[in-house]
Symmetry: C2
Subunit: 173 residues, 2 copies
DNA sequence: TCTTAATTAGTCAATCCTGACTAATTGGAG
DNA sequence: CTCCAATTAGTCAGGATTGACTAATTAAGA
């Protein structure tokens, strides 16, 4: 339900139409979610059906119909509950990159090394980009700090893994 | 495609039926994926359609039909490519728990603290459980080590966050 | 030797998610 | 003032995912 929470939390501050929501998601929340545009519209329609938000269609000129979404009292209650649930629970992160590592021994260590070196470069670039993010207001800065810490840890770990495969390559050579 | 990689990597070692695959996923690969049973069956059927694996129906007694899956040469080639792609790229982890933190300022700091304390307990339990996991063979141990390192980092970070909200609670009090 | 619980094996309807698309408006270069 | 690219706004068909279910087999206790 964290996708719903994300949308409700934004609508709580200001009523908005879908496009502004998607902008917020991409610009500010990229570190914790990757909801795509059609998903956001889908969830908004679902929440409207449940009475958590209202949908008001507006039209300017003959642009495509624009819907303005606004939180209802029921939605506010739901928001409070989802927020508390989210804060009180720990959801484990999954590492899709570990699937490859689990099978890395199927390749020669000499073949694995350049591949991991490529992974390392991508990770280092991501870390650098995140470090360059301008300061965010309030708790949003927490998310950036979290991401930086996480990426630093991943980089250190990846270097250990690479060292392991270097040793292995030397042995078998 | 890391779900397909996961399945192909297992079938490469031994032909197997759906149930054994799901067992492996839950027991050994829980740290890097959360594929559910029907998803695995869906992917197996899709890969069979693509010719990466073959499906042979067997029947013992009058049990429900059991399908044994086996990697084809085409599947082996695909496996090689997916494995190399996975090893060479870095896929960012998402933190659903950060959504709540982003909005934590909507609650009083005094209300946030017990919630985060609950999150901390869940995280600490998860870390302890992962530390207790018996040693795995080869690279599978890498995944466990990765998870432990990650959980340790998360715990340290969460303590920082909690400290932040403690300061905030003291200020507003 | 019943009865119950756990394990083995898989299916299906309903829901969720997104790549690819349409379409109008605005900004700016020439 | 015209044309092209970027921005704004949203839709839809099709594919992915899973909760809830069915059903036979085995294990174990009373």
């Amino acid at each position: 339900m964290e996708r719903e929470l994300l949308l409700l939390g934004f609508l709580r501050r200001e009523q908005a139409h879908g496009y502004r929501l998607n902008e917020f998601i991409e610009r500010e929340m990229a570190t914790c979610t990757d909801i795509k545009k059609p998903t956001a519209y889908f969830l908004l329609a679902k929440m409207a059906k449940q009475g958590w938000i209202t949908m008001r269609a507006t039209r300017e000129g003959n642009r495509p119909l624009r819907r303005v979404y606004r939180l209802t009292a029921k939605g506010e209650a739901q928001y409070q509950q989802l927020l508390r649930e989210n804060l009180a629970s720990f959801i484990e992160a999954k590492f899709p990159g570990d699937v490859g590592l689990a099978y890395a021994d199927d390749l020669e260590a000499q073949d694995v090394l350049p591949l991991l070196s490529n992974r390392r470069a991508a990770l280092a670039a991501r870390l650098e980009a995140t470090r360059q993010v301008p300061p965010h207001a309030g708790s949003l800065q927490l998310l950036v700090d979290h991401q930086v810490l996480h990426l630093e840890t991943e980089l250190a770990w990846l270097d250990q893994v690479i060292a392991r495969f270097k040793r292995k390559a030397k042995q078998s050579q």
